[in-house]
């Protein structure tokens, strides 16, 4: 398997060498090609980054300025009031804490349950394995969450889980797609010999998982973990539904609430500051794990 062989950064494909024949005409054409390429890439990069610029710019404006006609692109005078407001008027630190609790608890569960199931589906034989695995995959085609909001809520009431974090954590511990990806990763990334050797040494299923599979799956787990963490961090629908009290709200729920208030007139500044503060953690997380994440995806951890 071509899994970890290629590094995204330093693997020049040999196709390129063919282009390196240098005649003046070719050189000119190449220059033109480069110019078009870089110009295109810069435009795309600007498109990708522009919303972040406006987020930041808006968060530093007072409210009159943000909606000025014609629009302003950068505040005349930098105002940090909005940031103070979200931390003082709104308990943004609490929202952040809640988001972290939910995201971490859910991610850890996903990593454990999905790698365990992925390992069993990849490396163990037992009756009905294929049928069960296909069933797991098929469930990802089931109707979406918006359909079942009312039944889901009623179920949460029966469990006495309203205004707790459980509805945002437990139901999402075993997403079929993550099980599928872990299975693919373990099937390709962990040699059978290793597992056989452990089995010969008398290691049970769980022991093998814990001592062999889990440590060797770390690159795949990082990819799935980061993606999962970001997905939960950004989820809002269920939080909106089950989190009732102010001190239980997660960041996205609080911001969605804030943005939909009819009385939003004076809150756009803090809202934008909140948007910056909500976006920052995932971007930081991305930069921390950037190498592992991109390489994990590049090396096929996510591919079918």
């Amino acid at each position: 398997m071509a899994t970890l062989r290629h590094d995204g950064e330093e693997s020049p494909a040999p196709v390129a060498t063919a282009l390196h024949v240098t005649t003046p005409r070719r050189r000119w054409r190449r220059w033109l090609l480069n110019a078009v390429l870089y110009a295109g890439l810069v435009i795309v990069a600007v498109f990708c980054l522009m919303p972040f610029y406006f987020m930041l710019s808006g968060s530093l404006m007072d409210r009159g300025e943000m909606f000025r006609i014609p629009p302003r692109f950068w505040p005349e005078k930098l105002i940090f009031e909005n940031y103070r407001a979200i931390f003082q008027q709104f308990s943004f630190l609490t929202y952040l804490r809640n988001s972290i609790i939910v995201s971490v608890a859910q991610t850890l569960g996903v990593l454990f349950f999905c790698s365990l199931a992925g390992y069993v589906f990849a490396k163990r034989r037992f009756p009905g394995r294929n049928a069960l695995f296909i069933f797991v995959l098929a469930t990802s085609m089931m109707p979406n969450g918006q359909t079942t909001i009312i039944p889901f809520y009623l179920l949460m009431v029966k469990f006495n889980w309203i205004d707790t974090f459980w509805p945002l954590i437990v139901p999402w511990w075993a997403p079929p797609l993550s099980i599928f990806l872990m299975r693919q990763y373990i099937a390709a990334g962990i040699p059978d010999d290793l597992i056989d050797a452990a089995t010969v040494d008398g290691s049970g299923l769980f022991g093998t998982y814990w001592r062999i599979v889990l440590p060797l799956s770390v690159p795949g787990l990082v990819v799935i973990g980061v993606i999962q963490f970001i997905a939960i961090w950004n989820d809002f629908l269920y939080g909106l539904l089950v989190l009732k009290s102010e001190e239980m709200r997660t960041v996205t729920v609080a911001l969605t609430e804030l943005s939909r208030r009819t009385q939003a007139s004076t809150l756009y500044g803090p809202l934008f500051a909140g948007i910056v503060m909500a976006t920052l953690p995932t971007i930081i997380l991305f930069f921390i794990f950037q190498r592992r994440l991109t390489q994990g995806i590049l090396s096929g951890a996510i591919r079918g």
Binding site: P12, L37, L49, M55, F67, T147, I179
Partner: protein
């Protein structure tokens, strides 16, 4: 697909076909079943049960408060004849026609470009392209609304510098899909590009070398080597972007709220609106009926696509 075939060939234990009963065989493998049990328990409790409940509700009239009443297929009849249903499916087909080709070709193009070995700053561009993926589309949607404002929107402000506009982005039915489409592309293209890059880098370089020896042009190598080998990735992009479009929710929920005149309303947003009663008594029966129709629609589209790409692959 590839992974299904591979299932058959990863043996740890040699098959021991003894004439033991199947039940005993199953009992012997209890640890395996225990390890995969969490998925099935969670699925049964939190998904299958509510979905089954929703299916029952699709044959009832219920506002969430008073006693539910059986109405047979009346909800399906109403929903199928409802002009708003026709509107949302027209919209979703239009989104499919725009977003699925973009969702497949843009990542392929970006992936191919970012894979060019002579390109400098590849890592930087790749990172920039990926950053939007980690944001919440609901949260960024708030920014998008302001970006696409009419008199004081930032985009119109920029366009005014080159003498264009002002455009009524959020209120002109001909334009209102642009904010939704651009937000969707913005938020997803980085991830798809990375997958394409992964696919391109997994292609065995020897194939290119031998193709060059045979005198194949760059275009021919692309057409006869790259594209066929990228088929699984393309199918993946096709299916994921199709499902993503059919379940579009957050973007119209924040950016246009379905307007103008329902021209950006998606089935899921409509289901949410009528099912939860954002502007009247909840019509839970209609909402659930529509959601099962939507699921059927999704299955038909996805299987039609799978069928199409499979046939082409076998030629």
């Amino acid at each position: 697909m590839e992974h299904v075939e591979r299932l058959q060939v990863s043996p740890i234990e040699r098959p021991r076909r003894r004439s033991r009963g199947r039940l005993a065989e199953i009992a012997r493998h209890w640890p395996e079943y225990l390890c995969i049990a969490p998925f099935f328990v969670i699925f049964a409790v939190f998904f299958a049960y509510p979905i089954g409940w929703a299916f029952v509700l699709s044959f009832q009239r219920w506002d969430g408060i008073t006693e539910a009443r059986w109405v047979g297929l009346d909800n399906y009849r109403f929903v199928l004849n409802d002009p708003v249903t026709h509107r949302v499916f027209t919209n979703i087909i239009r989104y499919l026609l725009i977003l699925v080709p973009l969702g497949v070709f843009l990542p392929l193009a970006f992936g191919a470009i970012l894979n060019l070995p002579f390109l400098r700053f590849r890592g930087v561009f790749r990172t920039i392209l990926f950053i939007p993926v980690v944001t919440s589309l609901v949260v960024v949607g708030i920014v998008w609304r302001l970006l696409f404002g009419t008199a004081n929107g930032w985009l119109n402000g920029l366009l005014a510098h080159v003498g264009l506009g002002p455009y009524n982005w959020l209120k002109d039915p001909a334009l209102a899909q642009i904010p939704i489409v651009s937000l969707t592309i913005w938020g997803t293209v980085g991830f798809s590009t990375l997958i394409v890059l992964g696919g391109l880098q997994a292609i065995d370089q020897d194939l290119y070398d031998s193709a060059r020896v045979d005198g194949a042009s760059g275009w021919q190598t692309f057409w006869h080597i790259t594209l066929p080998l990228m088929r699984p990735v393309i199918v993946f992009l096709l299916i994921t972007s199709t499902i993503g479009v059919i379940t579009l929710f957050s973007q119209p929920y924040v950016v246009t709220r379905g307007g103008p005149a329902n021209h950006t309303l998606t089935p899921l947003l409509h289901i949410y609106n009528i099912g939860i009663g954002t502007s009247g008594a909840p019509r839970i029966g209609d909402a659930t009926a529509l959601s099962f129709l939507l699921t059927a629609f999704m299955l038909v589209v996805v299987f039609a696509q799978l069928w199409l790409v499979r046939r082409r692959g076998e030629e």
